[in-house]
Point group: D2
Chain length 236, copies 4
């Protein structure tokens, strides 16, 4: 299984605080713990040639992890179309935090993916509401993050196929923080935390969730549907 | 409640057989039985000014019924965006038959919406699998259509929020024929039958389904979510 | 449509504080605002003959509202069986607060329906996560209850067909507070708040939710399924 | 992972035709291909001491496969309670064919689990409607069974968490043939085919489905929820 961690990698270049928290970029931090979990990982960023996502890279990627925020609009539409096609064909997709507003996530959801937000460094507690889900392997009843950005409901997404986490925020809001979807032959997991100025991706529980999610999103070698005009299987 | 029945209305102009079956257009046939059901109905077609969907029409429409087939690509992208925005804001949307490939349906689903098909005038039987659903009011256990085009699985849609009908086809296929979705504040119902050369929209059970569906899709005066930066409700 | 509000009505007899808050019983308070909402309401309590639920009462009830807590075990199994049969046959069921542990709710869910709880008179805020749902008609973005008992996740229920509300509690927990299910031809709504020592059922938003829920749960005159041995519809 | 295949094993004793098709019992046939798939399998039958399901057996079973038909009522209620408790605690459960009417399945579903049926040796075709599901690994677009008993809609089950297969029957019916559920920490898969007089469990696709299903249903080492009275995590 081949994992590609894509990051727009812009905050890291502009904001010394982010550079300090993630000296190898958010993608570097994520790749590091996925590799530690025994996975085969490559990274790609917006400023790489072809935005890091050539046809070759996409066709070889089994699970794509996505972090973006301030440069969603710069991602090329033709690349978004190719990512969508790969998801429908089976590639797993893990969308992180501010990736809720990425072109690819909005395209796959069909909704605005809008939400409430607040950057106040407040406490977030992600409660497991589906303890039968493989993404929760190795976790306790909740994940406690001392400081995070707040995302609050209403989160304008389709009702998730499975709701795995619900967040509590100190400021009074809740959020559907871990949501799974299937689109075509591909699996999608949205996971809320991961603001660029907090060390969220060093949290061991967050790391467990993402290692689990990548395994869960592994492509299934199920039937490849045949579309279009079809001969009858029975005499009509 | 105001209903707009939109039809691309091209088969009716080109194909005498269709003109014969639907002398007032498919939109005319649908509008007629919805009005008989006590609803306030207007029709709109692709060749009307602004493709029949001015901002004024859209803003006043509570439920939009959509039939299209050979001219999906002619529907203007800016109008599709406006329809999507209206659905997210609460407008109901009923997508019929070949509308599975319409821009608006594909946009709201996030998938290819592809399927198998065959035009062989074969028997279709739509079984009710959710008899608690208001869309099934007044029906028997199944709807029998003597001749219809076949649509077969795999149907590349997100798993429906509710699966109401499953079709059996004489040629050996099955299909998820009645599917509900919520997107934002709006409700969507996809209903499979309705090929242009068969008198499907004169079938009384099909008419019941569509009258029921329009009522089910009526906008809810629920909360209008507020998105964006939010002050805390509690002291942090 | 005929509504029956069933209450075990024991706290009211034993606890002066409850008697003070609900001088006509919790059932009386609920019946009052449902009637004000134009509904035809009867009440029934555990100490009535046949526990208030004769065959005649059940057969005439379109939607049953259920409040119970300390006397779940006293409800007769044969009556629970009859309620289940009526739900499967189309009767709506609204289960309130501590009714999560009622025999009828556990029977219809197939799970333990267990949860965390705490009686500390803390603030609960129920966020609407499905603003397209008719149960949210007339509400704002959230319902604020100054003092309530806390129920926390994990709530051991099947994933709801629709998740309408998620609660935030001051003490740090979250809860899936408004859940819909269909069982057979019947609709079920579980609504969390309503501890006996707090004036929750006088809250106007709570009243709106329950009036909406009763309308939503109204039986559908859909097909009555025929089970058992069946002749083929086609020549085999 | 330890698998227990439970079979009531009564048809095999009474009906020479069944004995002929399944000389080692249905449980023997299922155990054989699961073992071939590399799994650690034990069998148990109704006439074994303690109906084959001692506390020790249940506590060591990771996934329980269930086949029953004419002796559902003989299964002891206390054993059903223990199976339910084990499912809620994480044990996987695969319910086969006529097991739809088993006590354990009805208990976990909360519905009648009734359906239409016909024993006419007709053709069944199980279409994959969720090609992203791991249970479909290695399959083509459909599974073709030359002769099977018919089960037809309406199938009185809760809407499945995931619908994987839909069956087409030669006699004109359809059926939701592969359904997943989560209950507590456990996963459940219902799979329709497997009538005792047909060699269904020798079909390679059916075998693939069941091997896949057992892997899918493997218990997750997720959080073990703590229920009951809870101290606040925040100062109230």
């Amino acid at each position: 299984m081949k994992i590609t961690v894509w990051n727009e990698n812009r905050h890291e270049k502009k904001n010394p605080r982010v550079k300090e928290v993630y000296p190898n970029g958010i993608h570097g931090a994520i790749a590091a713990f996925l590799e530690k979990g025994g996975l085969d990982v490559t990274t790609a960023t917006l400023d790489d040639p072809n935005q890091g996502l050539t046809d070759d890279v996409l066709s070889k990627t089994d699970v794509l992890v996505w972090w973006g925020h301030i440069a969603h609009e710069e991602v090329r539409d033709d690349i978004v179309d190719k990512i969508q096609a790969r998801v429908l064909d089976g590639m797993g997709l893990i969308v992180l935090h501010s990736g809720h507003f990425s072109k690819i996530f909005k395209t796959l959801m069909g909704t605005s993916c809008d939400l409430k937000w607040r950057e106040a460094g407040e406490n977030e507690r992600l409660w497991v509401v589906d303890p039968a889900h493989p993404i929760t392997e190795g976790l306790g009843e909740y994940i406690d993050l001392e400081k995070e950005e707040m995302y609050g409901e209403h989160f304008d997404i389709p009702a998730p196929d499975e709701l795995v986490f619900v967040s509590w925020f100190a400021g009074g809001e809740v959020f559907r923080s871990g949501c799974t979807y299937k689109r075509g032959r591909g699996k999608i997991f949205y996971f809320r935390p991961g603001h660029e100025t907090y060390p969220t991706y060093y949290n061991e529980d967050v790391q467990k969730v993402l290692v689990n999610a990548v395994h869960w999103a592994e492509p299934v070698k199920g039937p490849k549907p045949i579309y279009g005009n079809a001969n009858p299987l029975e005499q009509i």
